[in-house]
């Protein structure tokens, strides 16, 4: 009868699924495949690099997922995944024991304030920026723009971009509670369409729908980040456990190699590690790199 046949098929399929699942579970545990989880901002880069890598190293598989920096760090700490992608230093993330993890910086991202084009603003001083985000200034007229109410759009609490912006552009001041969005794309779209809006995104998200703002007359360019004249930038990190397996180590090395750094990293709008003239520690100490520039 047809129904019995169907039921049989169903059971068979479920069994096959189970077997496949079990089989591949073994594979995952082996050195063949690793998983990187975390920052959605970093995901495209790691994904593209992973595809490249799998192309050259047949049989190895890099599984890249988003989920947020917090998820990435906590999962790599738990050992559930091999690599945790993060926009922030592990030290800055609550609940993470940074001493247990190894930091691999793979790129630098510059962050710039963006405003709606109708605001009539192209430059702000740090003081003005702080006044805006702490709610002391509420109309663009007060900082030299058009008569337009200021609409602040923040990234979500815990977002790396927000942490960087508050630390380096607002000199550590917290933004007052305001609208929050959990992604750069959304922020850009909202700023682009909402009169009076101000927010901040990574350089790669700036396009013609929004106006990037100079701070203290310094333009948000890669060049200025490289010399730290534009201080609002952060590293993109790939964290691993201390005793990472071979594939993990090789893959991270591959991402840090000049091949990826000079192609993918730049194509995706990041600043490559070797372009930087300075380094910065988690505490914020900036040091010049000797002779790093070619």
């Amino acid at each position: 009868m047809k129904k019995r046949w169907l039921a049989g098929l169903l059971v068979v399929i479920l069994i096959v699924l189970g077997v496949v699942g079990y089989q591949n579970r073994q594979v995952t545990k082996a050195d063949m495949s690793i998983t990187a989880v975390g920052s959605t901002a970093l995901q495209p880069l790691v994904e593209a690099a992973g595809e490249d890598y799998s192309g050259t190293q047949l049989g190895s598989f890099i599984n890249v997922q988003g989920g947020g920096s917090g998820t990435g760090l906590s999962q790599v700490q738990e050992g559930a995944v091999e690599i945790g992608n993060s926009d922030v230093y592990a030290e800055e993330q609550k609940g993470i024991n940074a001493a247990k993890l190894v930091d691999h910086k793979v790129a630098v991202v510059g962050i710039t304030p963006i405003v709606n084009k109708e605001n009539g603003i192209k430059n702000l001083t740090t003081k003005q920026l702080i006044a805006i985000f702490t709610g002391k200034v509420t109309n663009w007229r007060q900082v030299g723009g058009h008569n337009q109410k200021i609409v602040i759009i923040n990234r979500a609490q815990g977002s790396g971009t927000r942490a960087t912006f508050e630390k380096w552009a607002l000199n550590g001041h917290q933004s007052e509670p305001a609208q929050e969005q959990d992604s750069s794309g959304m922020v850009r779209q909202i700023v682009g369409t909402t009169p009076g809006a101000i927010s901040y995104v990574g350089f790669s998200y700036v396009n013609k729908t929004v106006q990037a703002v100079n701070i203290n007359n310094v333009a948000p360019t890669d060049k200025n980040v490289e010399t730290n004249k534009w201080p609002v930038w952060s590293y993109e990190h790939m964290y691993t456990q201390k005793n990472a397996n071979q594939l993990t180590r090789r893959f991270i090395k591959y991402v840090q190699s000049s091949k990826i750094q000079h192609t993918l990293v730049r194509q995706l709008g990041y600043i490559s590690m070797d372009q930087m003239d300075v380094t910065r520690t988690v505490q914020g100490h900036v040091r010049k790199v000797e002779g790093s520039h070619e």
Partner: protein
């Protein structure tokens, strides 16, 4: 007011509300399709997506969506069917049954991101399935079960009790009666329930972000060995679905044609759901006719 006038006015208002709903839907559909249709092409439907350059398609995502849907239904339908049968046919009317019903209802109103995170911790991490279609399918099963169970239970309850008596009086067990008489009679409405839930599965994003993942590795459509990682059939590969793709493009997409891809993908999604719906009505009607009317 004159009752006759009141009647006229009320009828007019009712026509108005009904018309408004139709209008809302027409506007919604029109908007989605008009903004999305220009971006849909054979190339768009079949080629893989691009991370940061223009011209990406949604081929893999589209396949993933369907595959995930099929797997989820394969897992959730038998369970929901069994539970629906038990609840409607066997469950005693007592406090425990109503507690279970309440619990299932509660699950259905939990935001899907919570279900997704639960699925992540259980399937992805605990069971070691990793970010995979299978993890996604199990999580969607959680998400799908309450509604599906409910709709099956309702479909069964709608079949008159006299049909059950007819079976029982012939010396058949309740189980046989349910399986061979009640179920076929309830099939059209069960089918509607399944298709509606299929639409929901197809459009679900939040529960999948942490389980089936947000990346769509290239697939080799010539490779049908389900054990191979690049095979489309492998249930252990990470699989971004169409809805997740739309979500991702809207949130972090840096490709220059993100907006176009997103509206195109939305249109495809809605058209797919539309097709589900229409086919469900068609099949349901056919089945109903076949089962009840004389030709």
């Amino acid at each position: 007011m004159n009752p006759k006038t009141a009647n006229k006015i009320a009828t007019g208002v009712l026509y108005g509300t009904a018309g408004t709903i139709v209008l809302i839907l027409a506007a919604l559909l029109g908007y989605i399709i008009v903004t999305g249709l220009p971006h849909i092409s054979w190339h768009f439907l079949t080629s893989p997506s691009k991370a940061f350059t223009a011209g990406g398609g949604i081929g893999i995502q589209l396949f993933n969506s369907f595959y995930l849907l099929v797997l989820t239904l394969l897992i959730s339908f038998p369970i929901a069917l069994g539970a629906g049968i038990y609840l409607n046919e066997y469950a005693p009317k007592n406090a425990l049954t109503s507690l279970i019903r309440t619990a299932i209802e509660i699950l259905s109103s939990l935001p899907s991101v919570v279900v997704g995170l639960f699925g992540f911790l259980i399937f992805v991490v605990q069971f070691g399935f990793g970010f995979s279609i299978l993890s996604g399918a199990f999580s969607l099963t959680f998400f799908n079960l309450p509604l599906l169970t409910r709709s099956i239970e309702e479909a069964l309850a709608a079949v008159p009790e006299t049909q059950r008596e007819g079976g029982l009086a012939l010396g058949l067990s309740r189980w046989e009666t349910v399986i061979y008489i009640i179920l076929p009679a309830a099939l059209p409405s069960i089918l509607t329930g399944v298709i509606l839930s299929a639409g929901r599965i197809f459009g679900e994003a939040a529960a999948l972000i942490y389980t089936a993942g947000q990346s769509a590795p290239a697939l080799d459509f010539a490779n049908w060995n389900p054990f191979d990682i690049s095979s489309p059939l492998n249930p252990m590969r990470p699989a971004e679905t169409l809805a997740v793709h739309i979500w991702k493009i809207n949130s972090e997409g840096i490709m220059p044609d993100a907006k176009a891809v997103s509206s195109g993908a939305s249109a495809v999604l809605v058209i797919a759901v539309l097709l589900f719906n229409l086919s469900a009505r068609y099949i349901g009607r056919r089945l109903f006719k076949k089962l009840t009317a004389a030709d």
